[in-house]
Every structure is written in C-alpha cells, then in structure tokens.
C-alpha cells in the first residue's frame, strides 16, 4: 500500500464518521492490509482531530475476549484513542453522533503515573493506577453492518464511539478486578452479565498489554490517562431513547439515556 492510499482510506473513514454514513470494509480492497498500516490510518485521523482542537484523554482496548478474538481470527487485543469529546458522565443524555451503536460494560483505569513499556506487567499497572471505575463503552463502526476484519476495526479507531463513566471510583487495592460482577440492563431488562476476568483473565493484564504495545509504536501511557480495559460481556445493540444501566456491584453504577430521535 502506498502513502496516498493510506491517506485516502483515512479520509474515507473520517468522512463516514462526520456524515454518519457507512463504507464497505477497507479489506474488500486490500485483503492483506498489514496491522501497522491499519494503525497508521487510525493515527492519521487522530492527528486530524487533534488539529481541530479535540484532545486525546486515553485509550480503549478491544478484542479482549477469546470469542471476539476467535471471530476475527486473532490472538491479541487491539486499541483505539479516546477523545475529550467522547466523554460522558453517568446521568447524561448521550447525544454523540452514532451510526450503529452497541454498548459494552467495562472497567476503566485512571493512571497516577506514566506506564513506560516494553516490560510492563500486571504489578506495574496496579502500582500506576490511581483508581478504577465502571464504564459503558458505546462502540460504533463506520464499516457497513459491522462486517469488520482486524485491519478494518483498527483503522476505524478500534470501532470507538463514545463512553460513559461512573461517578464512583475505587482504589485498585479495594477492587476485585477479576470477580467483580457486572449487570447490564437496557430499559430495565437484564441483557448481559459478566465479570472482570472476561477481559483476558484480568483487566490489568489488558492495560499491561496496551502499555507494551504503545511502547512498540514509540509512545507511552501517561499519568491521568483513562483506559477502557475491554468488554466483560458481549456487546448489545442500542437504539435512540434506550435507557442503559450498568451495575458493577460495590464498584458503582453507570446510567444514561440514548438521546431520542
């Protein structure tokens, strides 16, 4: 793939996001797109948004469960960038422009120290974590009908939409990261339950993976960064007007409404 094509793919994704339209999978045209190039496409659009005044506030980790990895035929997670404009707080009406949104219960980490790869392990993550908090990630895809392959989702900022954080935070030494139970409801009905270990055995392990992955790309996780560590259940479709709630037991809750049409 040449530079102009990478740029062209990035533009296509950017326009789809702005216009709330979908495009065919990029991998329909370049079936063997290298992962590095897919991240290059993602970064082009990250720089573009930065240039327009948005601010990167952290990262999201995707493909953290065995079934998701199996579905895309991969054996490691991927990541995307979180912007200030994506951030909602529990109780908000989510009015972010979305195309085909799905919700996922997650644990978010907020860092109190930089995490400099490539030798980061779970203990380093625990020491660098200021607190953890429940979060609902609203994922979205600019690719028609979510027909994504690994390179498609990576190029598309790991299928990010926006995210909603809990008002309750918990010190990491007070949280059962692996056995904390999550209950996701839509309009009062339980749609999914799960526990932290669904994220590659331990959400802190996913954060360690991210720190090391970023170091291979020449960047680091910074103090103050928000990290969405990965879904603890399957993703569930949401529609305009839906009420979404997540209970993460003693770790707190997240509640919000999807703006009605």
């Amino acid at each position: 793939m040449v530079d102009t094509q990478i740029r062209e793919f990035a533009d296509r994704l950017y326009r789809a996001e702005k216009d709330l339209t979908v495009i065919p999978p990029l991998t329909d045209e370049v079936s063997d797109m290298a992962i590095d190039l897919a991240y290059e496409i993602q970064l082009l659009n990250v720089e573009k948004k930065r240039g327009q005044g948005d601010r990167v506030v952290g990262h999201k980790i995707g493909l953290t469960s065995k079934p998701m990895q199996a579905m895309l035929g991969v054996n490691e997670p991927d990541f995307g960038h979180l912007f200030a404009s994506m951030h909602y707080q529990s109780g908000d009406v989510v009015d972010y422009p979305l195309i085909q949104p799905r919700v996922e219960p997650e644990l978010a980490f907020v860092l109190q120290a930089d995490l400099d790869g490539p030798q980061i392990g779970v203990q380093d993550v625990l020491q660098a974590t200021r607190f953890v908090l429940p979060a609902v990630e609203i994922i979205d895809s600019r690719i028609a009908d979510w027909k994504i392959k690994l390179a498609d989702t990576i190029a598309d900022n790991a299928s990010s939409g926006c995210f909603v954080l809990s008002d309750t935070v918990t010190a990491v030494d007070q949280a059962n990261l692996t056995t904390a139970g999550a209950i996701l409801k839509i309009n009062g009905e339980i749609v999914e339950t799960g526990a932290g270990a669904a994220v590659i055995g331990n959400p802190a392990r996913a954060v360690a993976w991210l720190a090391n992955k970023l170091s291979s790309l020449g960047t680091t996780l910074k103090k103050g960064d928000i990290i969405l560590s990965g879904a603890v259940s399957r993703a569930v479709n949401v529609r305009a007007g839906d009420r979404v709630s997540l209970s993460f037991g003693p770790l707190g809750r997240v509640e919000f409404t999807m703006q009605a049409n």
Binding site: K66, N176, T178, T179, A180, G181, A182, I183, E189, I190, V191, T193, G194, A195, G196, A197, A198, I200, G201, V232, S233, S247, G249, P250
Partner: protein, 257 residues
C-alpha cells in the same frame, strides 16, 4: 396416551447414557403437564430402586435460554441422592454430552409451599447458601429439545457438586455476585447472579409456585439449585474446571473418563 411407556423409555436412556430422539417428534399433543407427569413417573423408578429425593433444580432461568426454546417461563427438575458428587471429580461414565454451569444452591431449614411466596418467606426458610456446579446432560440428540422434551427428561439433570463452605444468606448480594468459570486455566464464561431471573431468590419463588401446582413443596433439609449464572460449557476427559464465586471461594473439578 402411554405416559408410563414414555417414562420407561426416558429412564432406560438415562440409565444407559444413550441418545434419544425427541419425544415430541414421536408423540402428538403432549402438554407441559404431561411432561411433568412423565418426569415424576421417571423419578419414581429411581426411588423404587432405593434412590432418594434430596431437592430440586431450576432450569431456563435466563432470558437467553428461555428464548432459545421459545418460552417465557423457567422449568424445574428433581435432584436425587445419586446425582450428588461427593468429591470434586466428574466421571464421564454414564454421561452423553455433559456440560457444566455455575449456580448458587440454597439449603432449607423450613418447609416452603404455596402460591404467594415472597423473598422474605424464602430468606426465613433458608439455612444457608452455597456455591455449586451443575452437570447437565440432555438425553436428546445434539442437546436439542422443545420445552416438553426437556421437562420430561428431568430438565437435563445429571450430576451436581456443592462446595464445602456454606454462607449465611445475608452475607452477599447474590444478584451482584460475580462468577468466573475457567477450563484448564483459561476463562471460558463469566456472569453475575442477576443472570438468574434478576436475583436467585426469584428462582426459589418460581420453584415453590411451580411445585404447588403438583401438590409438592420444598422440604426441610432440601437443596435447590437456582439456575446457571453463565452459559453451560462442554467438558472433556482430563479437563480441569474451576469456578470462582466473588467472595465465596472457588470450586475446582477434575474430569476423567
């Protein structure tokens, strides 16, 4: 209609661990009441041989499972003494295509019967709650069945194991309880207690209400398995299955031929 003959057939297949064609494919017009009658006739065959009824189990307690068989109600089955594993070991002998699921077991000190049971009736009657793993094994080909089939087959009951440690029913919020099930060290399923009808206590209420239709009750000393907190997973020879219940410790089961 020969409900007794159907019960004989199911009993034979349960005893010999041989697959069976769905009874609803071969007998027309079987109702849910017929299916529970078949279930009771089958259980009588065991108790006539000296086995003993020690409790009940609930099935189809999640929306997803109810949808998969096209119903909006849970089902129940009988638990016999011979089904309880006294050691954390599962022998595949006598099983067809077994699967395991994590559950919360309630153990009762008082009788519970009637059609207007509330959560506080359940708590007052409960001695303790315990982590448990149920081994389910449908006698039907490909684990595929309709509501009537699965009820007749004792709600796919096969074996169950209850942990050593009992807990006060007031110690945990059972709906919030997180559960992680691993196969050979790798996370296979996670869930929370609310997957069971919103709260496992609701499962006990349903159990009592359904029992009252056939003139039965939860008796003192009985154990009730409230329903799978996650999807069930298949087990194979040499597997190690470990299940951690948030704050309640874990159960480790080894599987062998």
């Amino acid at each position: 209609m020969g409900l007794r003959a159907i019960a004989d057939e199911i009993y034979q297949h349960q005893m010999t661990a041989r697959e069976l064609d769905k009874i609803t494919l071969r007998y027309d017009g079987l109702t849910v009441d017929d299916a529970y009658a078949i279930q009771q006739l089958t259980i009588q065959k065991y108790t006539n041989q000296g086995d003993r009824l020690i409790g009940w189990k609930m099935g189809l307690t999640s929306k997803a499972k109810q949808q998969s068989v096209g119903v909006d109600e849970a089902i129940f089955g009988h638990l016999l003494e011979s089904m309880e594993l006294t050691n954390p070991e599962i022998s595949l002998k006598g099983l067809i295509h077994p699967r395991v699921e994590p559950e919360i077991a309630f153990v009762f000190k008082h009788r519970l019967e009637g059609t207007r049971i509330t959560p506080r009736d359940v708590w007052l009657a409960t001695e303790c709650v315990m982590p448990a793993v149920e081994v389910i094994d449908s006698r039907y080909k490909n684990f595929s069945f309709t509501l009537v089939d699965v009820i007749a087959d004792n709600a796919s009951s096969a074996k169950f194991y209850v942990a050593d440690q009992a807990f006060s029913p007031y110690q945990f919020q059972l709906d919030k309880l997180g559960v992680v099930m691993c196969r050979n060290g790798e996370v296979a399923q996670t869930g929370a207690g609310a997957a069971v009808l919103g709260h496992p206590v609701r499962s006990i209420i349903e159990q009592v209400h359904m029992l009252s239709r056939i003139g039965k009750a939860i008796e003192p000393g009985m154990v009730v398995l409230t329903g799978g907190i996650t999807e069930a997973i298949y087990i194979y020879d040499q597997d190690t299955i470990s299940v951690e219940f948030e704050g309640m410790g874990d159960i480790e089961l080894s599987v062998h031929a």
